[in-house]
């Protein structure tokens, strides 16, 4: 209920602002809705959203799985941590734009280059979060698993993974928002489709309704995925914890 109220307030502010600023700079909600409906009915909206979503999913899965594995290794093995740390600091501080441009120069304006560039941007934060999680693992529970001769996989699944789950959830949450932002830049710079490409076109034509139509549907998709997938996973991962007051 409160959410709905907050959303209505947002629409109201937008509408009032549109009346003051004028339709060219800030079109009113119905004007944007018209564009959304038009783009949806000719299929372009779904094509571009689909292309962007596919890139997000691929890059996200790639970065999360690789980042989690490397982070876990660096948290467990001192040598890996020492070797990997300078790389990690470099990657963490490398601007997204540099990675994307270099990827396109080195690998061509290809799908693989775009996805790799997005994944590389997300990778270091996943590593850092999972490394922290691994360092925080409870040694006494590891000992318990050893004494009771639990097979490796069972110990990993029931002893280690539940301890890492909150870190994985946090990394997924922050990672997803990072990927959402970067995917559009990668599309703008070197892809012939996707929401980022459409926004680029709208920018060149100063077509604000079109720009808003794409950005808002994209934001809506992000919101749905966040509430339908990420939050339930987070809640499940921390379900055994006593509830906060």
């Amino acid at each position: 209920m409160l959410r709905l109220l907050s959303f209505t307030l947002f629409l109201a502010i937008w509408w009032i602002a549109a009346l003051f600023v004028g339709g060219a700079k800030l079109p009113s909600p119905p004007a944007v809705l018209d564009v959304i409906i038009a783009e949806a009915s000719n299929g372009a909206l779904f094509l571009h959203l689909g292309a962007t979503l596919a890139r997000v999913i691929l890059a996200f899965v790639l970065a999360m799985s690789l980042g989690s594995a490397i982070g876990y290794l660096m948290g467990r093995v001192k040598l890996a941590d020492r070797l990997g740390d300078p790389w990690l600091i470099l990657l963490l501080n490398l601007p997204a734009l540099v990675v994307i441009v270099l990827a396109y120069i080195w690998a061509g304006l290809t799908e693989a280059a775009a996805i790799a560039a997005i994944a590389i941007n997300k990778l270091p934060t996943a590593i850092v979060t999972l490394r922290e999680g691994t360092r925080a693992l409870d040694r006494s529970l590891d000992e318990m698993a050893t004494v009771f001769a639990m097979p490796r996989w069972r110990a990993f699944r029931h002893v280690v993974l539940p301890q890492l789950a909150p870190y994985i959830a946090a990394s997924a949450r922050s990672g997803l928002s990072l990927v959402w932002k970067i995917v559009l830049v990668a599309e703008l710079l070197g892809r012939p489709n996707g929401v980022g490409f459409e926004i680029g076109v709208a920018f060149q034509l100063f077509d604000t309704p079109r720009l808003l139509a794409y950005s808002l549907t994209f934001a809506a998709v992000v919101l749905v995925i966040e509430t339908a997938l990420v939050q339930p996973f987070e809640a499940r991962a921390t379900r055994w914890r006593p509830r906060a007051a």
């Binding site: 000992e143 318990m144 029931h158």
Partner: protein
């Protein structure tokens, strides 16, 4: 089966770079069906000794010989349960092969029936300790290691659990190593008592108790208590 402990020493290097001697030479052995009790002052190195025997600490001088196939059941000083798994899952994860009948029996004896589905965070310490005991019993161990298992339990429950430990030890050929502060637990459960010195720990007295566990009457127990008191005073 037989457990042979021959530790010739264990040192520990502190952050400041000083070396501390934690264990002096300690030798003893334990047979199947026997309960050995380690009694010593706090901080004398009992826990270190247990970690070495369990294979958790390999940085020591000496040898520990135990059959590699020996199943170990352990009750740690803190319960060390998995907070994200229910009571039943905690037990089943340690003992995946346990039958439903055995599990129910165990839960009934330890009065955990009502708590099967609870998470450890919802249990009192006393209950959590009982779950830890259930887990150790469930694996049908060849070597049972109990580190202060009855601490912080009320007398009635401690007495009952002591009885359960005695029953288990009698039912299977298990080597049991009990660490305790309580002389009472020691003489009620132990076959051989090892009295340890302050750090670096060594065995100052080894006292066998000849009367079988089941036949120790209150009178016999109080006699043993007096004898031990005199013996310990003498050794000091």
């Amino acid at each position: 089966m037989r457990l042979e402990v021959e530790i010739s020493g264990k040192t520990f290097r502190s952050v400041a770079g000083e070396t501390h001697e934690v264990l002096a030479p300690v030798n003893f052995s334990l047979q199947s069906g026997e309960v050995g009790v380690l009694i010593g002052p706090s901080g004398c190195g009992k826990s270190t000794m247990l970690r070495i025997i369990l294979g958790l600490d390999r940085d020591f001088h000496g040898t520990i010989a135990r059959p590699p196939e020996a199943r170990i059941g352990m009750v740690f000083q803190e319960p060390r349960l998995l907070p994200w798994r229910s009571v039943e899952q905690n037990v089943r994860l340690a003992a995946p092969g346990i039958s439903e009948t055995k599990l129910s029996e165990l839960f009934r004896i330890l009065e955990l029936d009502a708590h099967r589905g609870h998470f450890p965070g919802e249990l009192s310490l006393g209950l959590a300790r009982r779950v830890a005991l259930a887990r150790a019993f469930a694996v049908e161990p060849d070597l049972l290691v109990l580190d202060e298992p009855l601490a912080s339990l009320d007398d009635a429950l401690a007495g009952r659990l002591r009885g359960e430990i005695a029953t288990l030890v009698a039912s299977r050929p298990v080597m049991t190593l009990l660490v305790t502060h309580s002389l009472d637990d020691a003489i009620r459960l132990g076959d051989r008592l090892f009295f340890l010195s302050p750090r670096p720990a060594r065995i100052v007295q080894e006292v066998p108790i000849a009367i079988p566990r089941a036949e120790r009457s209150e009178a016999a127990l109080s006699r043993i208590r007096t004898e031990l008191g005199a013996l310990l005073l003498e050794s000091k």
